[in-house]
Symmetry: C2
Subunit: 351 residues, 2 copies
């Protein structure tokens, strides 16, 4: 498996986006945020996504130079039309609006429709949190999950994300939750299938009749389970309401997906920012967060574990490792990227 | 089991609160909202709670005449001190503030500290939604759940609740999610234990060493599982941050509980209201909600089921039944209530 140093892979990614017609500032942002996911071990949302983005741009379903536009702004509420720009560009612009409005009103909500895949949520929530705010990010996603008691995919992994400051360059990140509302990412089931593991844990998936299964093949041909059953379905609908319903965007049955290059993705996003200083000085809030963290971490470990963590801790640890060791890119993904480079006339780094 | 008609039980509850020194308007509100939970089949949050409330009032840990006070208001952010008033009184006052501020700014966030048990969340979220707003309600709760990878209870069931309008008296309620961030309510495990069911489903609980178990006795002596493991723990911490950390209230290790009459409960609440009309006319939003609901309900049912529902549907159906048939009160709970009546000199309805 090729191992590419972080800086080199980021520069290569940026060159690919530039060659596809993405303006320099946006190419730099998109490359940086995709790499940040790889650094944190969230490879499902890392640089391999670029292969899909490039194909979408080449097919004309993602517009490399669009920025989106404000549809309406009223009080602390803003509605944005992404106009099929790169998801990262829409997200950056919406985070900026969310922070601006929360500075004015104490909190804000921004919805974006006609948007695209914006990489991993955590990056955007953290962009809001850098301003001393609670940063919430939600988005709907291509249909993959069945409503509870059903057996047809009708909605997506619909993630929930919260970042808590300080999220500066000093590496402090007291809490960074970024979770799909399915029990596990669909990728984990695909991985078990590819690696011919016969069994997966109960609760991960259902067979095609909607019956919970531990058989990997049945799961692969079946459905991803909503987190804990009806509760995960409820949370996913909460996300759907905040994104597509409130944002005036495409409902789940009208969504495309990053793997279908001929159809626009049309997902919706939602951003909520809460200015903590309206409640107490940031220092006091930070002290309280540390106290909560200390209470949780002082818990005696369960059998088989050595410690209790807070959301984001495992990813923070990986980040330090991967910055030093470089990033593993599976052969197939590397080939997709280098194929893109050949099409666009970009030189490939030697690995 | 005594079956008491709804109106009679509500009047009796109101009399008990009045006799305990709660002003008429607040007694009426508290009785009505507790009964509403029974009507919807949420008996864990119904009228039996009154026995605890009465004991807390008699012990001086809940103040029957307090109303709480605004600590600070800045933009759309309000911090409230419940001053150990009845939880329902604090919640009513905070919902009023949330609606007022959302009318002004488009959305609002209200935190309440030094609060008490306010019954079921759904009532309060619906109070906000009646104003054409998305109503979110969160609260922290007495320690019962272990952080993921741990084996000591360190936080509570920390519910997440969202009500979507219209929530008028015409019975329309397109979406009403009210869920603990545990896999199931602790009550379900207690019930299996009391009814000597030897096994519970995997995922509900862990034994006292933190190992997932299906043995009812081990579960009863062990720990309630966070919803889906680390994700439920993450969601519970999100709730904790919105309530106690942001609200300046007691952190989970300083909380009492409704069963410990000598210690104030000290929970925190959080209310978020979003004025939908800042995004689109309410009629358009309602049409979009109906479209989302239609997509989900058109899903082919999984094996063993006959239909797909939206959050709140099962409770809405029970409500119609129980309004007609009256409310079953288990003997033990009825005795607690009638004991309270004897202490307070309230006459008991004949059942």
């Amino acid at each position: 498996m090729p191992v590419v140093p972080h800086a080199q892979l980021e520069a290569f990614s940026q060159q690919l986006l530039l060659a596809a017609g993405v303006p320099a500032e946006n190419a730099e942002l998109t490359a940086r945020m995709l790499l940040a996911a790889n650094l944190r071990g969230i490879d499902s949302h890392g640089v391999h996504l670029l292969s899909y983005y490039l194909k979408q741009i080449e097919a004309g379903t993602v517009h490399p130079t669009h920025e989106g536009r404000v549809v309406s702004e009223s009080g602390a509420c803003l509605s944005y039309d992404g106009e099929n720009a790169l998801g990262q560009v829409i997200a950056r612009n919406c985070c900026d609006h969310a922070v601006r409005l929360a500075k004015e009103h104490g909190l804000s909500i921004v919805t974006a429709r006609e948007a695209n895949h914006f990489g991993a949520c955590f990056w955007w929530a953290r962009e809001i949190a850098r301003h001393g705010m609670l940063g919430f990010v939600f988005c709907n996603a291509s249909t993959l999950v069945s409503p509870w008691q059903g057996k047809q995919p009708k909605y997506g992994t619909n993630p929930i994300c919260l970042a808590v400051p300080p999220c500066g360059d000093d590496g402090q990140e007291p809490f960074l939750l970024d979770m799909a509302t399915t029990t596990v990412a669909a990728n984990k089931i695909f991985k078990a299938f590819i690696n011919q593991q016969p069994e997966i844990p109960l609760g991960w998936a259902m067979d095609k009749e909607g019956v919970p299964t531990t058989d990997t093949v049945a799961a692969y041909n079946g459905l991803v389970s909503p987190l804990g059953g009806y509760k995960g379905y409820g949370l996913a609908m909460m996300v759907e309401i905040l994104c597509s319903v409130l944002g005036g965007g495409a409902l789940p049955n009208d969504l495309g997906g990053i793997r279908f290059v001929t159809k626009p993705v049309r997902v919706s996003h939602c951003y909520i920012a809460v200015d903590i200083t309206r409640f107490m000085p940031l220092e006091e809030f930070n002290t309280r967060m540390l106290a909560l963290t200390a209470i949780m971490k002082a818990t005696a470990p369960a059998f088989g574990f050595t410690e209790v963590l807070m959301a984001g801790d495992p990813e923070k640890r990986l980040e330090a490792q991967r910055l030093a060791s470089g990033i593993d890119i599976p052969e197939g993904n590397w080939k997709d990227l280098t194929d893109g480079a050949a099409r666009l006339g970009v030189s490939v780094p030697v690995v």
